[in-house]
């Protein structure tokens, strides 16, 4: 192309508009999984940051590709090298590798720090006694998620170990989800709270989150668990005010009364009957 310098300038301007415009749009756009819990907010922030950093790089490579491939395309004559034969450029290579390394290292450091702060899926229960009532909202309330083929049930050890098929949580109270399974690998996905934890039999997978928005949310199994995996979802999980929560606990305790004497004592995992092959 004759006006190579102009072309490069145009491409850079286009890239700049794309990058800045995209980043601004991202900053104002809704970022998943939203702000319904502290964990979700932090995940949203991470996703936003990655997108903000990644988008300019992404669009720069894209612009360079377009420029070198499309803008610069010509009908070639035969047997004529199309440009000066470059076989490499140590400086460009070093710069590129150093640049990507720096980006990668900073991403890894950021991710590690974020991981250290949030501790999503730390894997270890934080409370010595699950049965103790939390004395403040920053002390976790333990809720056990029991996955089985194909329904999630929930146990509230703090409230006499009642079990329910519906998840109801008090707002602004730190919740510790203890996820376990009775048969195969499931995954407990509370999208709005940013909680996802595999339910593995004889394993206690722990995630903590503080729901901050009252509402009704969707829960879904996120690991292929057999026939009804796609239907192992629940549209009725609720985050409610503490008083509503107390009322709900009262109601569930009454409902559960006939079964309480049969329920196993609360524990972090439940070992299925010793005959693992059905009778």
């Amino acid at each position: 192309m004759r006006n190579r310098a102009t072309a490069i300038r145009v491409v850079i301007i286009v890239w700049f508009i794309l990058a800045v415009g995209g980043d601004v749009a991202l900053a104002f756009g809704p970022i998943p999984p939203g702000q319904a819990s502290d964990l979700a907010s932090s995940e949203s922030l991470t996703i936003l940051l990655l997108a903000e950093i990644g988008w300019p790089i992404f669009s720069a490579v894209l612009a360079a590709l377009f420029f070198t491939m499309v803008v610069n395309r010509t009908a070639p004559p035969t047997e004529e090298p199309s440009a000066a034969a470059l076989r490499g450029n140590t400086r460009a290579q070093t710069a590129w590798i150093a640049g990507t390394l720096v980006v990668v290292l900073s991403l890894a450091v950021y991710g590690t720090v974020a991981l250290a702060i949030d501790q999503p899926g730390a894997g270890v229960p934080s409370q010595a006694s699950a049965l103790a009532m939390p004395t403040s909202t920053s002390q976790p309330l333990e809720v056990q998620v029991i996955a089985q083929q194909w329904w999630f049930t929930y146990r509230y050890p703090t409230y006499g170990g009642i079990e329910t098929p519906q998840l109801v949580l008090p707002v602004n109270q730190k919740i510790e989800f203890n996820v376990t399974s009775l048969d195969v690998v499931h995954s407990f996905w509370f999208y709005a709270l940013g909680v996802k934890a595999d339910a593995v039999p004889l394993n206690d997978n722990v995630v903590t989150a503080t729901p901050t928005k009252i509402g009704t949310y969707r829960i879904q199994c996120a690991e292929l668990c057999g026939l009804w995996h796609g239907n192992m979802a629940d549209n009725t999980a609720m985050v409610v005010s503490p008083s509503d929560f107390a009322a709900w606990i009262q109601q569930e305790t009454t409902l559960d009364a006939p079964i309480m004497k049969y329920l196993l004592p609360y524990s972090h995992t439940y070992e299925p009957s010793p005959t693992i092959y059905g009778s």
Binding site: L202, P274, Y277
Partner: protein, 200 residues
Amino acid sequence: MSDVSPTGLTVVDEVEGGGRTLIFTSRLFMAANTTLQLSLLFAFLYLRANNFGGMWHPSGIGTPPQVLAIISLVFPLITLVALWAVWNAVGRGRESNAVSGLLWLALVAAVLTGAVRILLMYQFNWELDSAGTYAAISTLWYAVLLGEFILVGLWLLSLVMGHVRGTDRLSASHARAILDQWAYITGVSIVVYLLIQYIK
């Protein structure tokens, strides 16, 4: 045959990898085999470390019969020594009857290796569905090693047959390749024996 082209550059007829290819590939198989063995080692240690429900070693589960297990290690060692001697002899260009004899010795010991190991697997006396993970991984590992002994044993048989019938005299690289393989599997078997015997 080589030739000089008008451009002054030489061309050759064919690239013969030959013996080098054989030894190299034999070692490649060892590398691939290492992944398999490390996977089994990982499984062994992982199952032992987890020991859910005390099922690593339920009471009443013993180790494999000691005497047979040791005998099953002696025979491959005999084969190994014989193969080493064969390689040594062939490598120095000694085409004597001793090579044939040594090959036969190696083959007989290899056959006995397979036989003893099959017998050993019958002597475990484990009901796999209830004997826990120690029994399961040990049985699987022994079965994998048995399969490998049989495969290399068949290779050895083909070499012996070709050699004694004179259709395909044993070359030094061939001897070296099979020596490598046999040494590798024997070494792994010894390690596996020690693991299963002492890390219960």
